[in-house]
Protein backbone atom coordinates (compact mmCIF):
# COMPACT_ATOMS: atom_id res chain seq x y z
CA UNK A 1 0.00 0.00 0.00
CA UNK A 2 2.83 2.32 0.67
CA UNK A 3 4.54 3.28 -2.51
CA UNK A 4 8.05 4.40 -2.19
CA UNK A 5 9.11 7.39 -4.14
CA UNK A 6 12.54 6.19 -4.95
CA UNK A 7 13.88 3.79 -7.46
CA UNK A 8 17.37 2.65 -8.24
CA UNK A 9 18.78 5.11 -10.63
CA UNK A 10 19.76 3.65 -13.91
CA UNK A 11 17.03 1.06 -13.62
CA UNK A 12 17.40 0.05 -17.11
CA UNK A 13 16.04 -3.21 -18.22
CA UNK A 14 14.19 -4.51 -15.26
CA UNK A 15 12.03 -2.13 -13.45
CA UNK A 16 12.66 -3.24 -9.94
CA UNK A 17 14.61 -5.82 -8.23
CA UNK A 18 12.66 -6.54 -5.16
CA UNK A 19 15.71 -6.85 -3.05
CA UNK A 20 17.02 -3.52 -4.22
CA UNK A 21 13.84 -1.80 -3.30
CA UNK A 22 13.69 -3.29 0.10
CA UNK A 23 17.29 -2.53 0.81
CA UNK A 24 16.78 1.03 -0.18
CA UNK A 25 13.64 1.24 1.80
CA UNK A 26 15.27 -0.18 4.83
CA UNK A 27 18.22 2.07 4.51
CA UNK A 28 16.11 5.11 4.19
CA UNK A 29 13.90 4.05 7.00
CA UNK A 30 16.87 3.44 9.21
CA UNK A 31 18.23 6.85 8.48
CA UNK A 32 14.93 8.39 9.24
CA UNK A 33 14.61 6.54 12.50
CA UNK A 34 18.01 7.44 13.65
CA UNK A 35 17.14 10.98 12.90
CA UNK A 36 13.97 10.78 14.87
CA UNK A 37 15.58 9.11 17.79
CA UNK A 38 17.22 12.21 19.06
CA UNK A 39 13.91 13.87 19.29
CA UNK A 40 12.61 10.96 21.21
CA UNK A 41 15.11 11.52 23.96
CA UNK A 42 14.06 15.04 24.35
CA UNK A 43 10.49 14.00 24.21
CA UNK A 44 11.00 11.51 26.94
CA UNK A 45 12.09 14.26 29.20
CA UNK A 46 9.10 16.29 28.30
CA UNK A 47 6.78 13.37 28.59
CA UNK A 48 8.04 12.59 32.03
CA UNK A 49 7.47 16.10 33.16
CA UNK A 50 3.99 16.10 31.69
CA UNK A 51 3.14 12.81 33.25
CA UNK A 52 4.16 14.01 36.64
CA UNK A 53 1.98 17.03 36.17
CA UNK A 54 -0.96 15.03 35.17
CA UNK A 55 -0.41 12.61 37.99
CA UNK A 56 -0.59 15.49 40.37
CA UNK A 57 -3.76 16.63 38.85
CA UNK A 58 -5.46 13.33 38.97
CA UNK A 59 -4.00 11.59 41.91
CA UNK A 60 -2.68 14.15 44.27
CA UNK A 61 -0.16 11.78 45.63
CA UNK A 62 -1.18 8.52 44.26
CA UNK A 63 1.42 7.51 41.77
CA UNK A 64 4.99 6.78 42.49
CA UNK A 65 7.42 8.86 40.56
CA UNK A 66 9.59 5.91 39.93
CA UNK A 67 6.69 4.09 38.43
CA UNK A 68 6.11 6.95 36.07
CA UNK A 69 9.61 7.15 34.74
CA UNK A 70 9.71 3.42 34.41
CA UNK A 71 6.56 3.49 32.44
CA UNK A 72 7.88 6.16 30.17
CA UNK A 73 11.17 4.50 29.55
CA UNK A 74 9.50 1.25 28.92
CA UNK A 75 7.23 2.90 26.50
CA UNK A 76 10.02 4.13 24.31
CA UNK A 77 11.52 0.76 23.69
CA UNK A 78 12.24 0.51 20.02
CA UNK A 79 11.46 -2.44 17.92
CA UNK A 80 14.57 -3.22 16.00
CA UNK A 81 14.52 -5.09 12.84
CA UNK A 82 11.04 -4.21 11.79
CA UNK A 83 10.46 -1.75 9.08
CA UNK A 84 6.84 -1.05 9.45
CA UNK A 85 6.34 -1.65 13.09
CA UNK A 86 7.54 1.67 14.21
CA UNK A 87 4.06 2.24 15.31
CA UNK A 88 4.44 0.16 18.43
CA UNK A 89 5.98 2.98 20.27
CA UNK A 90 3.35 5.31 19.05
CA UNK A 91 0.78 3.27 20.80
CA UNK A 92 2.77 3.03 23.93
CA UNK A 93 3.79 6.60 24.10
CA UNK A 94 0.24 7.60 23.70
CA UNK A 95 -0.94 5.20 26.30
CA UNK A 96 1.61 6.52 28.68
CA UNK A 97 -1.01 9.05 29.48
CA UNK A 98 -3.26 6.41 30.84
CA UNK A 99 -0.58 4.28 32.33
CA UNK A 100 0.26 6.31 35.43
CA UNK A 101 -3.25 6.00 36.68
CA UNK A 102 -3.42 2.39 35.90
CA UNK A 103 -0.21 1.76 37.71
CA UNK A 104 -1.62 3.33 40.76
CA UNK A 105 -4.78 1.35 40.53
CA UNK A 106 -3.23 -1.94 39.73
CA UNK A 107 -4.74 -2.05 36.32
CA UNK A 108 -3.34 -3.99 33.47
CA UNK A 109 -3.44 -2.61 30.04
CA UNK A 110 -4.88 -4.81 27.44
CA UNK A 111 -4.49 -2.68 24.43
CA UNK A 112 -3.39 -4.77 21.57
CA UNK A 113 -0.54 -2.57 20.59
CA UNK A 114 0.84 -2.34 24.06
CA UNK A 115 1.03 -6.07 24.49
CA UNK A 116 3.64 -6.04 21.84
CA UNK A 117 5.99 -3.77 23.64
CA UNK A 118 5.18 -4.01 27.29
CA UNK A 119 6.99 -7.26 27.62
CA UNK A 120 10.30 -5.62 26.79
CA UNK A 121 12.47 -4.96 29.80
CA UNK A 122 13.31 -1.43 30.78
CA UNK A 123 16.98 -1.97 30.35
CA UNK A 124 16.33 -2.12 26.68
CA UNK A 125 16.26 1.63 26.94
CA UNK A 126 19.97 1.48 27.32
CA UNK A 127 20.04 -0.35 24.05
CA UNK A 128 18.47 2.67 22.48
CA UNK A 129 21.52 4.67 23.23
CA UNK A 130 23.76 2.22 21.50
CA UNK A 131 24.79 2.22 17.94
CA UNK A 132 22.73 1.05 15.01
CA UNK A 133 19.54 0.49 16.90
CA UNK A 134 16.61 1.21 14.74
CA UNK A 135 14.34 3.50 16.59
CA UNK A 136 10.82 4.15 15.57
CA UNK A 137 8.78 7.18 15.01
CA UNK A 138 6.46 8.20 17.70
CA UNK A 139 3.34 10.15 17.03
CA UNK A 140 4.65 13.09 18.94
CA UNK A 141 8.02 13.16 17.32
CA UNK A 142 6.33 12.83 14.01
CA UNK A 143 4.25 15.80 14.83
CA UNK A 144 7.20 17.79 15.91
CA UNK A 145 8.96 17.01 12.72
CA UNK A 146 5.92 17.88 10.73
CA UNK A 147 5.36 20.96 12.77
CA UNK A 148 8.93 21.98 12.29
CA UNK A 149 8.79 21.72 8.57
CA UNK A 150 5.17 21.70 7.66
CA UNK A 151 4.64 21.92 3.96
CA UNK A 152 1.78 23.53 2.33
CA UNK A 153 0.92 22.10 -0.98
CA UNK A 154 2.21 24.83 -3.20
CA UNK A 155 4.90 26.60 -1.26
CA UNK A 156 8.56 25.93 -0.90
CA UNK A 157 9.63 25.29 2.63
CA UNK A 158 12.81 24.64 4.47
CA UNK A 159 13.98 21.12 4.26
CA UNK A 160 12.50 19.03 6.99
CA UNK A 161 15.61 17.00 7.46
CA UNK A 162 17.77 20.03 7.88
CA UNK A 163 15.45 21.63 10.36
CA UNK A 164 15.28 18.44 12.33
CA UNK A 165 18.99 18.13 12.37
CA UNK A 166 19.48 21.64 13.60
CA UNK A 167 17.02 21.32 16.41
CA UNK A 168 18.32 17.91 17.18
CA UNK A 169 21.86 19.10 17.45
CA UNK A 170 20.84 21.79 19.86
CA UNK A 171 18.87 19.35 21.91
CA UNK A 172 21.66 16.87 21.97
CA UNK A 173 23.94 19.44 23.44
CA UNK A 174 21.52 20.18 26.16
CA UNK A 175 20.49 16.63 26.77
CA UNK A 176 22.11 14.51 29.38
CA UNK A 177 21.30 11.07 28.16
CA UNK A 178 23.97 8.44 28.23
CA UNK A 179 25.47 7.26 25.01
CA UNK A 180 24.67 10.59 23.55
CA UNK A 181 28.11 11.18 22.21
CA UNK A 182 27.87 8.04 20.19
CA UNK A 183 24.65 9.17 18.71
CA UNK A 184 26.02 12.55 17.76
CA UNK A 185 28.84 10.88 15.97
CA UNK A 186 26.49 8.74 14.06
CA UNK A 187 24.39 11.75 13.40
CA UNK A 188 27.26 13.60 11.85
CA UNK A 189 28.08 10.64 9.72
CA UNK A 190 24.54 10.46 8.67
CA UNK A 191 24.35 14.12 7.84
CA UNK A 192 27.26 13.92 5.51
CA UNK A 193 25.80 10.84 4.01
CA UNK A 194 22.48 12.53 3.50
CA UNK A 195 23.99 15.47 1.81
CA UNK A 196 25.85 13.29 -0.56
CA UNK A 197 22.99 11.12 -1.53
CA UNK A 198 19.68 12.21 -2.80
CA UNK A 199 17.72 9.53 -1.17
CA UNK A 200 15.44 11.55 1.01
CA UNK A 201 11.89 10.55 0.77
CA UNK A 202 10.30 13.95 0.51
CA UNK A 203 9.17 15.72 -2.55
CA UNK A 204 11.08 18.23 -4.50
CA UNK A 205 9.07 20.77 -6.34
CA UNK A 206 11.77 23.01 -7.62
CA UNK A 207 14.10 20.61 -9.27
CA UNK A 208 11.43 18.96 -11.28
CA UNK A 209 11.65 21.89 -13.61
CA UNK A 210 15.01 20.69 -14.67
CA UNK A 211 13.93 17.19 -15.49
CA UNK A 212 13.85 16.19 -19.04
CA UNK A 213 10.86 14.65 -20.61
CA UNK A 214 12.13 11.12 -20.21
CA UNK A 215 11.84 9.31 -16.93
CA UNK A 216 15.22 10.14 -15.51
CA UNK A 217 16.00 10.95 -11.97
CA UNK A 218 15.82 14.38 -10.48
CA UNK A 219 19.19 15.99 -10.46
CA UNK A 220 21.09 16.37 -7.28
CA UNK A 221 21.08 19.72 -5.66
CA UNK A 222 23.24 20.49 -2.75
CA UNK A 223 21.13 23.37 -1.54
CA UNK A 224 19.50 22.53 1.77
CA UNK A 225 16.17 23.99 0.76
CA UNK A 226 15.25 21.25 -1.64
CA UNK A 227 13.79 17.92 -0.93
CA UNK A 228 14.53 15.28 -3.45
CA UNK A 229 12.32 12.78 -5.03
CA UNK A 230 12.78 10.61 -8.03
CA UNK A 231 10.29 10.12 -10.73
CA UNK A 232 9.24 6.62 -11.36
CA UNK A 233 9.60 4.86 -14.60
CA UNK A 234 6.50 5.29 -16.66
CA UNK A 235 5.07 8.19 -14.71
CA UNK A 236 4.83 11.86 -15.34
CA UNK A 237 7.54 14.08 -14.04
CA UNK A 238 6.01 17.49 -13.76
CA UNK A 239 6.01 19.13 -10.40
CA UNK A 240 2.32 18.83 -9.75
CA UNK A 241 2.09 15.13 -10.15
CA UNK A 242 5.20 14.58 -8.12
CA UNK A 243 3.84 16.63 -5.31
CA UNK A 244 0.54 14.85 -5.59
CA UNK A 245 2.23 11.51 -5.41
CA UNK A 246 4.20 12.39 -2.33
CA UNK A 247 1.15 13.74 -0.62
CA UNK A 248 -0.76 10.60 -1.42
CA UNK A 249 1.99 8.47 -0.03
CA UNK A 250 2.10 10.43 3.16
CA UNK A 251 -1.59 10.07 3.61
CA UNK A 252 -1.55 6.38 2.94
CA UNK A 253 1.31 5.92 5.36
CA UNK A 254 -0.61 7.59 8.11
CA UNK A 255 -3.71 5.68 7.23
CA UNK A 256 -1.74 2.57 7.83
CA UNK A 257 -0.91 3.73 11.31
CA UNK A 258 -4.53 4.41 11.94
CA UNK A 259 -5.37 0.96 10.76
CA UNK A 260 -3.28 -0.46 13.54
CA UNK A 261 -4.88 1.72 16.09
CA UNK A 262 -8.55 1.37 15.31
CA UNK A 263 -9.83 -2.06 16.22
CA UNK A 264 -11.25 -4.13 13.44
CA UNK A 265 -9.70 -2.31 10.54
CA UNK A 266 -7.39 -4.95 9.24
CA UNK A 267 -9.49 -5.89 6.31
CA UNK A 268 -10.52 -2.49 5.18
CA UNK A 269 -8.56 -0.95 2.38
CA UNK A 270 -9.11 2.42 0.86
CA UNK A 271 -9.51 5.82 2.28
CA UNK A 272 -13.26 5.99 2.39
CA UNK A 273 -13.78 2.87 4.43
CA UNK A 274 -10.97 3.70 6.80
CA UNK A 275 -12.29 7.18 7.33
CA UNK A 276 -15.67 5.73 8.12
CA UNK A 277 -14.25 3.43 10.74
CA UNK A 278 -12.20 6.19 12.25
CA UNK A 279 -15.19 8.45 12.49
CA UNK A 280 -17.25 5.76 14.15
CA UNK A 281 -14.55 4.99 16.63
CA UNK A 282 -13.92 8.58 17.63
CA UNK A 283 -17.63 9.16 17.99
CA UNK A 284 -18.05 6.15 20.19
CA UNK A 285 -15.15 7.20 22.37
CA UNK A 286 -16.57 10.64 22.79
CA UNK A 287 -19.94 9.22 23.72
CA UNK A 288 -18.34 7.00 26.28
CA UNK A 289 -16.68 9.99 27.83
CA UNK A 290 -19.98 11.79 28.02
CA UNK A 291 -21.73 8.88 29.57
CA UNK A 292 -19.01 8.27 32.09
CA UNK A 293 -18.98 11.88 33.13
CA UNK A 294 -22.71 11.70 33.61
CA UNK A 295 -22.32 8.64 35.71
CA UNK A 296 -19.65 10.26 37.77
CA UNK A 297 -21.86 13.25 38.29
CA UNK A 298 -24.63 10.99 39.49
CA UNK A 299 -22.42 9.03 41.78
CA UNK A 300 -20.79 11.96 43.45
CA UNK A 301 -23.47 14.02 45.14
CA UNK A 302 -23.91 11.33 47.70
CA UNK A 303 -20.49 12.00 49.05
CA UNK A 304 -20.21 14.41 51.88
CA UNK A 305 -17.90 17.19 50.98
CA UNK A 306 -14.86 17.76 53.04
CA UNK A 307 -15.22 21.42 53.70
CA UNK A 308 -11.72 21.92 55.00
CA UNK A 309 -9.99 21.01 51.80
CA UNK A 310 -12.21 23.07 49.67
CA UNK A 311 -11.21 26.52 50.70
CA UNK A 312 -7.51 26.05 50.58
CA UNK A 313 -7.53 27.36 47.04
CA UNK A 314 -10.45 29.66 46.88
CA UNK A 315 -9.44 32.12 49.49
CA UNK A 316 -10.78 34.98 47.48
CA UNK A 317 -14.37 33.99 47.95
CA UNK A 318 -15.09 33.88 51.64
CA UNK A 319 -18.70 34.80 51.17
CA UNK A 320 -19.48 31.63 49.35
CA UNK A 321 -17.69 29.51 51.84
CA UNK A 322 -20.22 30.16 54.52
CA UNK A 323 -23.11 29.32 52.34
CA UNK A 324 -21.60 26.33 50.76
CA UNK A 325 -21.89 23.66 53.42
CA UNK A 326 -25.49 24.50 54.13
CA UNK A 327 -26.31 24.59 50.50
CA UNK A 328 -24.67 21.30 49.95
CA UNK A 329 -26.55 19.83 52.85
CA UNK A 330 -29.85 21.34 52.01
CA UNK A 331 -29.75 20.18 48.46
CA UNK A 332 -29.03 16.76 49.76
CA UNK A 333 -31.85 16.91 52.24
CA UNK A 334 -34.55 18.38 50.16
CA UNK A 335 -34.05 16.22 47.19
CA UNK A 336 -35.05 12.75 48.23
CA UNK A 337 -33.65 11.45 45.02
CA UNK A 338 -30.17 11.99 46.27
CA UNK A 339 -30.59 10.28 49.56
CA UNK A 340 -30.98 6.76 48.51
CA UNK A 341 -28.76 4.90 46.24
CA UNK A 342 -31.38 3.26 44.14
CA UNK A 343 -33.14 6.44 43.23
CA UNK A 344 -29.72 7.82 42.43
CA UNK A 345 -29.33 5.06 39.99
CA UNK A 346 -32.71 5.72 38.64
CA UNK A 347 -31.87 9.32 38.48
CA UNK A 348 -28.91 8.41 36.42
CA UNK A 349 -31.25 6.64 34.13
CA UNK A 350 -33.47 9.65 34.08
CA UNK A 351 -30.57 11.86 33.33
CA UNK A 352 -29.55 9.63 30.55
CA UNK A 353 -32.99 9.99 29.21
CA UNK A 354 -32.81 13.73 29.63
CA UNK A 355 -29.51 14.06 28.03
CA UNK A 356 -30.50 11.89 25.21
CA UNK A 357 -33.61 13.82 24.65
CA UNK A 358 -31.69 17.02 24.60
CA UNK A 359 -28.70 15.84 22.71
CA UNK A 360 -29.47 12.55 21.08
CA UNK A 361 -26.25 12.08 19.19
CA UNK A 362 -24.23 12.32 22.32
CA UNK A 363 -25.83 9.49 24.14
CA UNK A 364 -26.41 6.85 21.57
CA UNK A 365 -25.75 3.52 23.11
CA UNK A 366 -26.66 0.09 22.14
CA UNK A 367 -29.68 -1.08 24.06
CA UNK A 368 -30.87 -4.56 24.53
CA UNK A 369 -34.52 -4.99 23.94
CA UNK A 370 -35.22 -5.49 27.60
CA UNK A 371 -33.75 -2.29 28.90
CA UNK A 372 -35.81 0.28 27.05
CA UNK A 373 -38.96 -1.49 27.97
CA UNK A 374 -38.27 -1.53 31.66
CA UNK A 375 -36.94 1.94 32.06
CA UNK A 376 -39.92 3.91 30.82
CA UNK A 377 -42.05 1.80 33.07
CA UNK A 378 -40.13 2.88 36.10
CA UNK A 379 -40.44 6.48 35.04
CA UNK A 380 -44.13 6.36 34.45
CA UNK A 381 -44.94 4.38 37.52
CA UNK A 382 -43.20 6.55 40.03
CA UNK A 383 -44.57 9.90 40.90
CA UNK A 384 -41.43 10.72 42.71
CA UNK A 385 -38.12 9.02 42.89
CA UNK A 386 -38.86 6.74 45.72
CA UNK A 387 -39.23 3.64 43.71
CA UNK A 388 -36.46 1.52 44.93
CA UNK A 389 -35.87 -1.14 42.37
CA UNK A 390 -34.34 -0.13 39.13
CA UNK A 391 -33.87 -2.87 36.65
CA UNK A 392 -31.31 -5.04 38.35
CA UNK A 393 -29.52 -5.68 35.14
CA UNK A 394 -29.14 -2.00 34.35
CA UNK A 395 -25.70 -1.53 35.73
CA UNK A 396 -24.46 -4.84 34.47
CA UNK A 397 -25.89 -3.96 31.13
CA UNK A 398 -24.08 -0.67 31.16
CA UNK A 399 -20.79 -2.34 31.87
CA UNK A 400 -21.38 -4.85 29.16
CA UNK A 401 -22.40 -2.18 26.77
CA UNK A 402 -19.25 -0.31 27.49
CA UNK A 403 -17.16 -3.30 26.83
CA UNK A 404 -19.00 -3.97 23.65
CA UNK A 405 -18.79 -0.45 22.47
CA UNK A 406 -15.22 -0.16 23.53
CA UNK A 407 -14.07 -3.26 21.80
CA UNK A 408 -15.96 -2.85 18.65
CA UNK A 409 -15.87 0.84 18.36
CA UNK A 410 -19.04 0.71 16.44
CA UNK A 411 -21.60 3.33 16.11
CA UNK A 412 -24.85 1.87 17.23
CA UNK A 413 -28.32 3.14 16.87
CA UNK A 414 -30.31 4.30 19.77
CA UNK A 415 -33.99 4.81 20.01
CA UNK A 416 -34.87 7.93 21.79
CA UNK A 417 -38.54 7.30 21.42
CA UNK A 418 -39.14 5.53 24.71
CA UNK A 419 -37.54 8.36 26.61
CA UNK A 420 -38.88 11.47 25.09
CA UNK A 421 -42.26 11.02 26.63
CA UNK A 422 -40.90 10.92 30.12
CA UNK A 423 -38.42 13.67 29.73
CA UNK A 424 -40.62 16.52 30.81
CA UNK A 425 -41.92 14.66 33.79
CA UNK A 426 -38.51 13.66 34.98
CA UNK A 427 -37.23 17.12 34.31
CA UNK A 428 -39.76 18.59 36.66
CA UNK A 429 -39.00 16.09 39.31
CA UNK A 430 -35.32 16.62 38.95
CA UNK A 431 -35.32 20.34 39.39
CA UNK A 432 -37.75 20.26 42.30
Amino acid sequence: MINRALLPAGGGENMLHCTDMTVLERQRARIKWQQEQQQQFQLQQQEISYFTELADVFHQAGVHEGGLSEVVTRSVKPDPGLVDNGWNNDHVVGYGVGLPYNNGLGFELNYGAISRTSSCPPEAVAAVAEATVKGSESVVSDMISSGAGRESSKKRKVDKAVAEEDTRDKRIKGCAEQGESKITEKNNNKNSRNNNTNKNSNSNKENSDETSKDNSKVSEVQKPDYIHVRARRGQATDSHSLAERVRREKISERMKYLQDLVPGCDKITGKAGMLDEIINYVQSLQRQVEFLSMKLAAANPRLDFNVDNLFAKEQAFPACSINFPTIGMSSDMTNPAYLQFNPAQQQLVACCGLDMGIDPPDMALKRTTSAPVSIPETFLDSSCFTQTHPPPTWDADLQNLYNVAFDQGRQTSFQTQPFTGSIEASNLKMEM
Binding site: Y50, F58, L261, L275, N306, L310, C351
Partner: protein, 195 residues
Protein backbone atom coordinates in the same frame (compact mmCIF):
# COMPACT_ATOMS: atom_id res chain seq x y z
CA UNK B 1 -26.02 22.32 41.10
CA UNK B 2 -28.10 20.07 38.96
CA UNK B 3 -26.74 16.87 37.67
CA UNK B 4 -26.44 18.14 34.15
CA UNK B 5 -24.33 21.05 35.17
CA UNK B 6 -22.20 18.77 37.26
CA UNK B 7 -21.74 16.48 34.37
CA UNK B 8 -20.76 19.32 32.13
CA UNK B 9 -18.26 20.54 34.64
CA UNK B 10 -16.78 17.10 35.08
CA UNK B 11 -16.43 16.64 31.38
CA UNK B 12 -14.90 20.05 30.94
CA UNK B 13 -12.33 19.51 33.63
CA UNK B 14 -11.49 16.09 32.26
CA UNK B 15 -11.04 17.54 28.81
CA UNK B 16 -8.79 20.28 30.07
CA UNK B 17 -6.70 17.83 32.01
CA UNK B 18 -6.49 15.67 28.93
CA UNK B 19 -5.38 18.57 26.83
CA UNK B 20 -2.75 19.46 29.38
CA UNK B 21 -0.98 16.19 28.80
CA UNK B 22 -0.26 17.18 25.25
CA UNK B 23 -0.12 20.80 26.04
CA UNK B 24 1.39 22.98 23.39
CA UNK B 25 2.43 20.21 21.10
CA UNK B 26 -0.71 19.18 19.36
CA UNK B 27 -3.31 21.27 17.69
CA UNK B 28 -6.32 19.69 19.31
CA UNK B 29 -5.05 20.24 22.82
CA UNK B 30 -4.50 23.88 22.14
CA UNK B 31 -7.94 24.13 20.61
CA UNK B 32 -9.54 22.61 23.70
CA UNK B 33 -7.77 25.00 25.98
CA UNK B 34 -8.60 27.95 23.78
CA UNK B 35 -12.28 27.02 23.75
CA UNK B 36 -12.35 26.45 27.45
CA UNK B 37 -10.76 29.78 28.22
CA UNK B 38 -13.51 31.63 26.46
CA UNK B 39 -16.11 31.35 29.18
CA UNK B 40 -15.68 31.95 32.87
CA UNK B 41 -16.14 28.42 34.10
CA UNK B 42 -13.48 27.13 31.83
CA UNK B 43 -11.12 29.92 32.70
CA UNK B 44 -11.05 29.07 36.36
CA UNK B 45 -10.57 25.41 35.62
CA UNK B 46 -7.80 26.18 33.19
CA UNK B 47 -6.05 28.28 35.74
CA UNK B 48 -6.27 25.60 38.35
CA UNK B 49 -5.32 22.65 36.29
CA UNK B 50 -2.64 24.29 34.23
CA UNK B 51 -1.16 26.75 36.64
CA UNK B 52 2.53 25.96 36.13
CA UNK B 53 2.57 26.61 32.44
CA UNK B 54 -0.66 28.42 31.95
CA UNK B 55 0.92 31.57 30.63
CA UNK B 56 2.67 29.94 27.73
CA UNK B 57 -0.34 27.84 26.90
CA UNK B 58 -2.74 30.71 26.95
CA UNK B 59 -0.56 32.64 24.59
CA UNK B 60 -0.34 29.66 22.29
CA UNK B 61 -4.08 29.20 22.39
CA UNK B 62 -4.87 32.79 21.62
CA UNK B 63 -2.37 32.77 18.80
CA UNK B 64 -4.05 29.70 17.46
CA UNK B 65 -7.43 31.39 17.51
CA UNK B 66 -6.18 34.28 15.44
CA UNK B 67 -4.44 32.02 12.99
CA UNK B 68 -7.58 29.99 12.59
CA UNK B 69 -9.56 33.07 11.70
CA UNK B 70 -7.10 33.86 8.99
CA UNK B 71 -7.26 30.36 7.60
CA UNK B 72 -11.03 30.45 7.66
CA UNK B 73 -11.16 33.71 5.71
CA UNK B 74 -8.78 32.36 3.12
CA UNK B 75 -10.87 29.26 2.70
CA UNK B 76 -14.05 31.23 2.23
CA UNK B 77 -12.35 33.35 -0.40
CA UNK B 78 -11.03 30.32 -2.21
CA UNK B 79 -14.36 28.60 -2.22
CA UNK B 80 -16.13 31.61 -3.60
CA UNK B 81 -13.74 31.86 -6.53
CA UNK B 82 -13.74 28.20 -7.39
CA UNK B 83 -15.71 27.14 -10.45
CA UNK B 84 -16.89 23.60 -10.83
CA UNK B 85 -15.58 21.79 -13.84
CA UNK B 86 -18.06 19.93 -15.98
CA UNK B 87 -17.33 16.26 -16.09
CA UNK B 88 -17.39 15.19 -19.70
CA UNK B 89 -15.66 11.84 -19.56
CA UNK B 90 -18.45 9.55 -18.52
CA UNK B 91 -16.41 6.39 -18.37
CA UNK B 92 -17.14 4.18 -15.43
CA UNK B 93 -13.71 4.44 -13.95
CA UNK B 94 -13.73 8.19 -13.95
CA UNK B 95 -17.20 8.26 -12.52
CA UNK B 96 -16.30 5.89 -9.73
CA UNK B 97 -13.24 7.91 -8.94
CA UNK B 98 -15.17 11.11 -8.67
CA UNK B 99 -17.77 9.48 -6.48
CA UNK B 100 -15.17 8.09 -4.14
CA UNK B 101 -13.47 11.45 -4.00
CA UNK B 102 -16.70 13.04 -2.97
CA UNK B 103 -17.26 10.43 -0.30
CA UNK B 104 -13.78 10.90 1.08
CA UNK B 105 -14.24 14.63 1.09
CA UNK B 106 -17.50 14.40 2.96
CA UNK B 107 -16.03 12.09 5.53
CA UNK B 108 -13.02 14.27 6.08
CA UNK B 109 -15.43 17.08 6.77
CA UNK B 110 -17.11 14.98 9.42
CA UNK B 111 -13.80 14.04 10.95
CA UNK B 112 -12.80 17.67 11.04
CA UNK B 113 -15.92 18.46 12.98
CA UNK B 114 -15.17 15.68 15.45
CA UNK B 115 -11.58 16.43 16.27
CA UNK B 116 -11.29 19.66 18.24
CA UNK B 117 -9.62 22.36 16.23
CA UNK B 118 -9.70 20.19 13.19
CA UNK B 119 -11.34 22.53 10.75
CA UNK B 120 -8.19 24.45 10.13
CA UNK B 121 -5.84 21.66 9.31
CA UNK B 122 -4.88 20.07 6.06
CA UNK B 123 -5.40 16.40 5.38
CA UNK B 124 -2.08 15.09 6.54
CA UNK B 125 -1.96 16.89 9.83
CA UNK B 126 -5.60 16.06 10.37
CA UNK B 127 -4.79 12.38 10.35
CA UNK B 128 -1.92 12.85 12.76
CA UNK B 129 -4.09 14.84 15.10
CA UNK B 130 -6.76 12.19 14.87
CA UNK B 131 -4.28 9.56 15.88
CA UNK B 132 -3.11 11.43 18.90
CA UNK B 133 -6.60 12.42 19.87
CA UNK B 134 -7.84 8.85 19.66
CA UNK B 135 -5.12 7.58 21.91
CA UNK B 136 -5.76 10.30 24.44
CA UNK B 137 -9.49 9.67 24.37
CA UNK B 138 -8.91 6.04 25.11
CA UNK B 139 -6.81 6.96 28.07
CA UNK B 140 -9.44 9.37 29.29
CA UNK B 141 -12.15 6.76 29.10
CA UNK B 142 -9.98 4.42 31.03
CA UNK B 143 -9.29 6.86 33.80
CA UNK B 144 -12.90 7.83 34.14
CA UNK B 145 -14.01 4.25 34.24
CA UNK B 146 -11.61 3.46 36.98
CA UNK B 147 -12.49 6.44 39.09
CA UNK B 148 -16.16 5.69 38.62
CA UNK B 149 -15.63 2.13 39.72
CA UNK B 150 -13.90 3.27 42.83
CA UNK B 151 -16.49 5.89 43.57
CA UNK B 152 -19.41 3.57 43.21
CA UNK B 153 -17.64 0.97 45.21
CA UNK B 154 -17.61 3.12 48.25
CA UNK B 155 -21.20 4.02 47.70
CA UNK B 156 -22.33 0.52 47.21
CA UNK B 157 -20.19 -0.88 49.90
CA UNK B 158 -20.07 -3.97 47.80
CA UNK B 159 -17.05 -5.82 46.59
CA UNK B 160 -18.29 -6.06 43.07
CA UNK B 161 -15.88 -3.56 41.67
CA UNK B 162 -13.10 -3.95 44.14
CA UNK B 163 -10.05 -5.99 43.52
CA UNK B 164 -9.83 -9.14 45.45
CA UNK B 165 -6.45 -8.47 46.89
CA UNK B 166 -6.95 -4.92 47.90
CA UNK B 167 -4.31 -4.02 50.37
CA UNK B 168 -3.75 -1.04 52.53
CA UNK B 169 -1.91 0.83 49.83
CA UNK B 170 -4.74 0.47 47.41
CA UNK B 171 -7.13 1.64 50.00
CA UNK B 172 -5.04 4.67 50.62
CA UNK B 173 -4.80 5.32 46.94
CA UNK B 174 -8.49 5.04 46.67
CA UNK B 175 -9.00 7.42 49.51
CA UNK B 176 -6.73 9.93 47.88
CA UNK B 177 -8.50 9.60 44.61
CA UNK B 178 -11.73 9.98 46.46
CA UNK B 179 -10.30 13.10 47.93
CA UNK B 180 -9.42 14.35 44.53
CA UNK B 181 -12.90 13.70 43.28
CA UNK B 182 -14.36 15.53 46.21
CA UNK B 183 -12.01 18.40 45.69
CA UNK B 184 -12.89 18.51 42.07
CA UNK B 185 -16.56 18.49 42.85
CA UNK B 186 -16.03 21.08 45.49
CA UNK B 187 -14.22 23.32 43.10
CA UNK B 188 -16.95 22.93 40.60
CA UNK B 189 -19.54 23.82 43.17
CA UNK B 190 -17.60 26.86 44.10
CA UNK B 191 -17.32 27.92 40.54
CA UNK B 192 -21.00 27.62 40.21
CA UNK B 193 -21.56 29.66 43.31
CA UNK B 194 -19.43 32.44 41.98
CA UNK B 195 -21.56 32.80 38.91
Amino acid sequence: MSILERKKAIKLSADIALASTRAGRTCWSRAIIADASKDDDGKVLVQHLLSPESERLKKASTGLAMENKRVRCKKILKRSCCIKRVRKGASKVVLAKSISKRIVKRRTQVLKSLVPGGEFMDDISLIEETLDYMVSLRAQVDVMRRSLAKATEVVNGCAEYANKDEGIEEYNLYVREHDYMRKLMGNLYLIHRIE
